[in-house]
Amino acid sequence: MIKYLLKRMATYVVMIFLTTSAGYFLAVSTMKPALIEQERIPRPTPEQVAHSLALKGLDPAMSPWDRYVQWLTGIVTRWDWGMSPAGGSVNAAFGDRVWVSTRLFIAAIFLTLVIGVALGVFTAARQYKASDRVITSYSYLTYIVPAPIAYFLVQLAAIWINDATGQQIFFVTGISTPGVEPGWPAFVDLVAHYVVPTFAITLVGWGGYQIAQRQYLLDNVNADFVRTARAKGLTRNQAIRRHALRVSFIPVAQTIAFTVPAIFAGGFFAEAIFAWPGVGFWSIDAIGKQDVNAATATLAYGSVIFAVGAILADLATTLVDPRVRVS
């Protein structure tokens, strides 16, 4: 099993390298930081701009290939992801923000998965009853709402509750209030800022898992091996729990890989809307500033997130699926 996972990891490393390189070429050939520098006051001469960019390793006169080699050498030899046009290292800026994003994603991904699978099982056991219809309709509804709009509506609702009660119950932007005492007040403050974005991501995220889990479980409920188990004297619920559940989770586990990037993209939107200074917020900002190195670093981060999701999916599959253990 470990050998199998290592092999998968090696494939993903190659893929991350390829996607990041492709992203670098795309960014370096479409982004022109020199034009932004021209907007400064006092206006620098083109020579000054070229000189200042060249000092940061962003020389616009070099060919994309030479810049790629220079950039790649920096990463391989010094783990240096380059500099921004405005100065400042990408490594430092990324390091500050990655934990903000991770905090947001981990809770949301975990809640989404647990709630989605639990509700999927719940609704499959009550097929076509009122509770099933309500929950499944809701899940289908989340398919036709764009994530940022849903987050924005949650934000509006939170503001409305704040206004209605006349108190600051929810914080709809930012990650913390400046000047809060450390310890318990800081923790309360953190949770208050955390609740709304996490709630928003989870709310629109679990629909996909719910529908998938319900569908796969229903496909298995009437399978021969479940009937055999019932014939041996198990109740319907026992048979489902001990036999159908595990089998139906296998395809759901495999979709984790493709849901993690979706939540990641959702996290981008959430960061943009709730003004969380995470990687997503930063990358959109950096792209607006024509920052080639920062844009590529976030692309690489996105690919790594996908690979982590895919490996988690493989791991989950190997844990629940006895057939995979041989490899």
């Binding site: 960014a27 709402v145 493709f258 792209i287």
Partner: protein, 328 residues
Amino acid sequence: MSTVDAVQPETEADVLTTDDGVVIAKGVIIFRRFLRNKTAVAGLILFLALTVFSLVGQFLTPWTKNDIDPAFIGEGPSADHFFGTTQAGVDLYVLMVEGVRTSILIGLIVGVGSMLVAAVYGCVMAFYGGKVDKVMLFILEALIMMPSLLVVAVVTSGNGGDLKDALPSWFLLTVVLLVFGWMGAARLIRSISMSLIERDYVKAARYMGVSTWRIVWKHLIPNIGSLLVLEITRGVTLAILSEVAYSFIGIGIKPPDMSLGILIGQASQQVSSFPWMFWFPLLAMFALTGSMAMMNDGLRDAFDPSSSSVGKAKKSRKARKNTVEAAA
């Protein structure tokens, strides 16, 4: 995802014969089943109405998107301005006509285009298998790994770039959505085609020396046809959603191009002072994606040979009696 039942590949299978000996073409059956699903028909009508609105809506109002009405600046809906005006005094109705048109256009191009790419790619992978399959799967997974959100932002962002000056932003967005929109469907088509290729009649055709393209055309396409139609409606919905999502946070389509996403995004800044500017485009978007979802459901039922959710065609009492007598 319904499992694919092996449809007999020959043309005789495309027709069914009723008890009275009347022959009904398969397309007619699917069409009738679709019509029997009220929700799906309502979805279709809603979608057609929105399309007509986006095409001829312009002629129902004297305003254009370049007109500024100084008498109505940031005013709510009225007889002069059906959906009110923006804070610059531009008629919202006209902007929405163009916005809906852009969204439908992007949706249709991306939905149909990405399905075609997915079908060809998935079938080729399944058909050749082995090394070809491995390499193509690698490319496919690498594309899934690229965060398309960032690529959209890079391609459509800011100033500069010869490409960006030459092409309108909605076209750039369409291209990116096409490039990143087909992978999921291709995986699905690959796995279904693989199981089809293992079927005996495909093996038989291969041994008989039937050409590759004929096998794909005659055996694979008819069997995955229903899936392809569903992928189109799903792809259209996804493309519209992506456009709105990206434009909402300020990447994707840029003014002067107009889309529902831009209208919603711009209006979200002052939703309390100009609520109509936010809610009208948002309702239009829900109508658009909702109509696709309603149709999707009806299409799935219409194509699913074992569907029983829309009631079977009722036999007349006489026909039933005949069957009983024939059996006896």
